[in-house]
Symmetry: C2
Subunit: 460 residues, 2 copies
């Protein structure tokens, strides 16, 4: 059995290691990681900083002991600095500064991503934080606990920015959220982004969109964030969350090819161009099932899948990554916002003749108490009828997340929008309708496309 | 355009009528119904009788006016008594006793089902009720309101029995539930049925299983239900809910063939053997997608689908019913219990080499507050790996219903259990895990089947 070395102790690396041990209980598997926190749920950091997760140790998907019990070797506090693919050696620096060389038969790179640093002055001021790894989180938490800040400015209205706005509000802080785009959560349609902004505002958060942040400066023991047009906000704390860029420096020392998005180029077997070197997770480009080409879409779910596949193939397996649909969900206060597949503009750009239809209904029969409204945007191709994408926004207890997953399963199989009505979905009045809302939304799309085609007939 | 007549104003009939009007706005569509309550949600009756639905009129999927506005003619209080397929005439008796004959070009029979009457003495005593149609519901409600009963015995531990046990408990009544099988809710595995019984008991309900009810008798102004072995329970009210039998008397006047289950034989176009006569809903046999043969599985979801297809085909369409998977969910107090596809025994009987693996996990990351445990039973074929079925039990806010729908979508497309891990499902810590619980359950199945095969390797 080959000795397999994973670089990176987060989702991709640990998934690869677990898969190898599952398939081959006699294999030798080592995970090298730069810090001391293997297999932590970095998606959970906002809930630690909100105080909802009371002990950071609970953020571990698995504890160190769990991982060791699986027969996986751990090299913690080993920062990999170079890969020599000819000798199959990885050079790493340990916490004490000494250098070691670790051999491998097969290598899986899972170095993840680093926070994108915007073109803003003052990012190095005390009280300005990025949020990506456990270490960042500890620094922010220390600030929260020791300095008891009363206000924060969050730069970036994506997932992490929104979750942190929720988290710090929950701690009783006054929060201002600044976003460069015209609406927050630009991964969904603008009308949904506006609904999210309303949710933030209803919880006292100041939301400023369409702002180019220019600088952060110290101002009366606070930090002032200044941008154009005419934006200025002060806070005791500034969080910067404007996206992630793949961490590929290490991979490049091995001559690994970097793709169009600055991420590691891999095939669907998660192989790089360099023999015996695989890569997975936030550092790689990801095959898109609908676009049939690679994109950069770093998500924890994808990292788990890709790591698992890289691990299996590293020990002689033959499995291909089936592709991402960009399925994702975020909870902001009482709202869940989910999407899968392509939005209208993305579909157009990809050459589909797309049409998006918006539809609203209740998450269960309205006669039963507690029905929440769900808003859908269904995107399909008017020529073929193919289902291309869906977005849902509504109360998080309205099964928004798993409803978008029904669309994801349908898109995975190339279903038409019309065929959604053929799915045998569960119903009871307190939980759904005889046609589930996902089917009603699909039917609304089909009706609208028919109307688009036959305007005269409909007006009769 | 043909004149289409629907007999039956519930799910199948109204779905057919709506579909016809949608596809052909100039068509002539008439729905004949025996009572005055078209398009009522009979699945909602327990929630009316619990008091959660305060006005029975809210149980209408659509009001009479809504239906008329869709351009559908209604013949309410017309009890159809005979079909003459040669003359294409339906004979009906109106409320005033007069007889009318209604012509049709195409006929869709949607006469539904009637409650199964068990072999029990005393079913005709005052205070003993069946529950199927609006009229039944009014009689029970009148009894509840006027006589303020304090206790009830429910015969039958299926969906309606369980929902009524929940409903009457919510009204403050003392409830005894009697079931013939060894466990309640025999549509799911016995261990799930036992969990449901615990839920009932924790709400003060007396649950008696494995009981053959023999008679109901009057006893000191109450009703006494007596059965063997050694069962006796008294209540002010007795509800009988032991299943449904297809209502086919009318269809037989037209020479329509009845299938193996006593229901109307139809093909996947919802055509009967008699020209120009279609049938749909609880009165017909239903094509099973996995078994590839008809079964009797009366469900509102299926009635909607079949009605829609019958309607489309009646006006010249060409659509086939894609088949049922028996997907269903019921909420009992805080629990939701859902299933789709085949259970182990059903799969064996159908010739699959089935294996069922039970698995438990949290509905979202356990570090985030409020995680509920979900229990899964995944059934697959060990030869082909094909996913055959899934059952889930857990807190109703754990997205149990729409999680079973992900399985339903996967089974619909013939996925293997292993392929469940390829689905791109949504994740955020407050709503799921990087592998959704449905994927973890599928992975547990795959691991267990591997262990079954390689016991020696695993024991190393």
């Amino acid at each position: 059995m080959p000795q397999v070395l994973m670089i990176g102790g987060s989702d991709a690396g640990i998934s690869a290691a677990l898969r190898i041990r599952e398939l081959s209980p006699s294999s030798e598997v080592t995970v090298m990681l730069a810090d001391d926190y293997p297999n932590f749920s970095i998606c959970g950091l906002p809930f630690y900083l909100s105080g909802e997760v009371t002990d950071w140790r609970n953020l571990a998907h698995r504890t160190k002991d769990d991982i060791l019990r699986e027969g996986i070797h751990l090299l913690a506090n080993h920062r990999a600095t170079a890969i020599n693919p000819d000798q199959r050696l990885v050079t790493a620096i340990q916490a004490n500064g000494s250098q070691v060389q670790v051999p491998y038969d097969k290598l899986i790179i899972g170095t993840g991503a680093i926070p994108r640093a915007p073109q803003v002055e003052g990012l190095d001021l005390p009280g300005v934080y990025f949020l990506r790894w456990m270490g960042d989180s500890f620094r922010v938490n220390q600030h929260l606990v020791e300095q008891n800040p009363r206000s924060a400015v969050i730069i970036g209205g994506g997932y992490i920015g929104l979750e942190m706005a929720d988290a710090l509000t929950l701690r009783g802080m006054a929060v201002t959220l600044v976003e460069h785009s015209p609406t927050v959560l630009k991964t969904v349609h603008a009308s949904f982004g506006e609904r999210v902004a309303e949710e933030l505002q209803s919880h006292g958060i100041i939301v400023a969109t369409g702002i180019s942040v220019e600088r952060i400066e110290q101002h009366n023991h606070q930090l002032r964030v200044v941008g154009s047009p005419g934006f200025s906000a002060t806070g005791d704390l500034v969080l910067v969350a404007v996206g992630a860029v793949p961490a590929t420096e290490l991979a490049q020392t091995a001559g690994v090819t970097i793709g169009d998005y600055g991420s590691i180029r891999v095939n669907r077997r998660m192989e790089t161009n360099v023999p015996h070197i695989y890569a997975a997770g936030d550092c790689v480009e990801t095959w898109h099932r609908l676009l049939q080409k690679p994109v950069y879409l770093p998500l924890g779910t994808t990292a788990h899948k890709q790591g698992r596949i890289a691990g299996e193939n590293a020990i002689g397996g033959d499995r291909e990554f089936d592709g991402t649909l960009g399925t994702q969900v975020v909870k902001v206060f009482e709202l869940a916002i989910a999407r899968t597949g392509l939005r209208e503009a993305e579909a157009e750009q990809a050459g589909f003749q797309s049409r998006t239809v918006e539809f609203e209904t209740w998450h269960h029969k309205v006669y039963y108490p507690g029905a929440h409204p769900l808003r859908f945007r269904v995107t399909g191709d008017v020529r073929t009828g193919q289902l291309l994408g869906a977005q849902i926004i509504g109360h998080y207890q309205g099964e928004v997340a798993k409803r978008v997953d029904i669309f994801a399963a349908a898109i995975h199989h190339g279903m038409t929008v019309e065929q959604m009505s053929d799915l045998d979905l569960s119903y009871t009045p307190p939980l759904s309708s005889p046609w589930d809302p996902v089917q009603m939304a699909a039917q609304a799309w089909v009706k609208q496309v028919r109307k688009d085609r036959e305007p005269a007939l409909v007006s009769i």
